[in-house]
């Protein structure tokens, strides 16, 4: 059962349980393991551990598992959704173009991949450090600048537009 987003003044991290409560996604499509830094509504940093057991790795590719680029996009998008889901009502009020019915759906639908680059292969054993920075908002949409690193290497970066489901 998903809980409504609570005000989170000064919250710095999110555990897997808190992530599962905030996002509508569920296994096997919950792609952020932990949030390590959180500035609600502004930016966040999180972790996605890549393992040979990931179901999508079995087919991509058999005998040569590589994290699919689109799932790196999804991981980054989910981190962004968490950054927005934890916004304080005050902060989001001034930035949001209010919906007529006042209901807040989670930010969970990809509206646009403005650009994305995949710079290095991501393989089992890698720990992706994800970053998301919230940019311009428009109606229900939010533009996000994202990146993923493994160790000191930038493995992917791009700009997404996400909207409320």
């Amino acid at each position: 059962m998903k809980e409504a987003a609570k005000p989170n003044h000064g919250l710095r991290t999110l555990s897997h349980g808190e992530i599962a409560a905030l996002l509508p996604q569920a296994a096997p499509f919950l792609l952020v393991d932990r949030v390590t830094e959180l500035d609600p509504g502004r930016r966040g940093k999180g972790i996605r551990n890549v393992t040979a057991n990931d179901i999508q790795m079995l087919g991509h590719f058999p005998g040569r598992p590589i994290m699919p680029g689109v799932l790196i996009v999804e991981s980054c998008g989910q981190l962004a959704a968490l950054v927005c889901a934890t916004e304080t009502p005050e902060a989001s009020e001034t930035e949001r173009n209010g919906r007529a019915n006042g209901q807040e759906e989670p930010l969970s639908i990809l509206a646009m991949i403005e650009r994305f680059k995949f710079l290095r292969k991501v393989v089992p054993g890698d720990q992706m450090i994800l970053e998301a920075e919230i940019g311009k908002r428009f109606q229900d949409m939010i533009r996000i600048v994202v990146s993923a690193r493994v160790g000191s290497h930038l493995v992917a970066e791009g700009v997404l537009v996400a909207t409320r489901g």
Partner: protein, 103 residues
């Protein structure tokens, strides 16, 4: 034509060309500048752009002109002309008045 009118016209001509460039480049439109009407709506009727395009356009305008565009003020990005009105009003207090900016 007096010099004041000439200045206004030149300024608008230049702003319009720059706005059209942002529109064409950022939205990857298959259009030449002389195929776009300045006064026609960009969204809904007219060019028929959608809300994702609106976001991309606004970001492009902010980058190109170093301004902030309040996304809740729909009138600002209704057309190339209204964008130009906004940029002139923001950058230059003595800018030309438009239909809805003066009381």
């Amino acid at each position: 034509m007096n010099s004041e009118t000439r200045a206004v016209v030149e300024h608008r001509r230049e702003l319009t060309e720059r706005i059209k460039s942002v529109l064409i480049e950022r939205l990857d439109l298959n259009l030449q500048p002389n195929e776009i009407t300045e006064d026609a709506p960009l969204f809904g009727m007219g060019l028929g752009l959608d809300s994702i395009d609106a976001l991309v356009l606004i970001v492009g305008i902010e980058d190109e002109f170093d301004v902030t565009v309040e996304t809740t003020d729909h009138h600002v990005y209704r057309s190339i002309n209204t964008l130009a009105d906004y940029l002139m009003a923001t950058a230059d207090k003595a800018a030309a008045p438009s239909a809805v900016y003066d009381a």
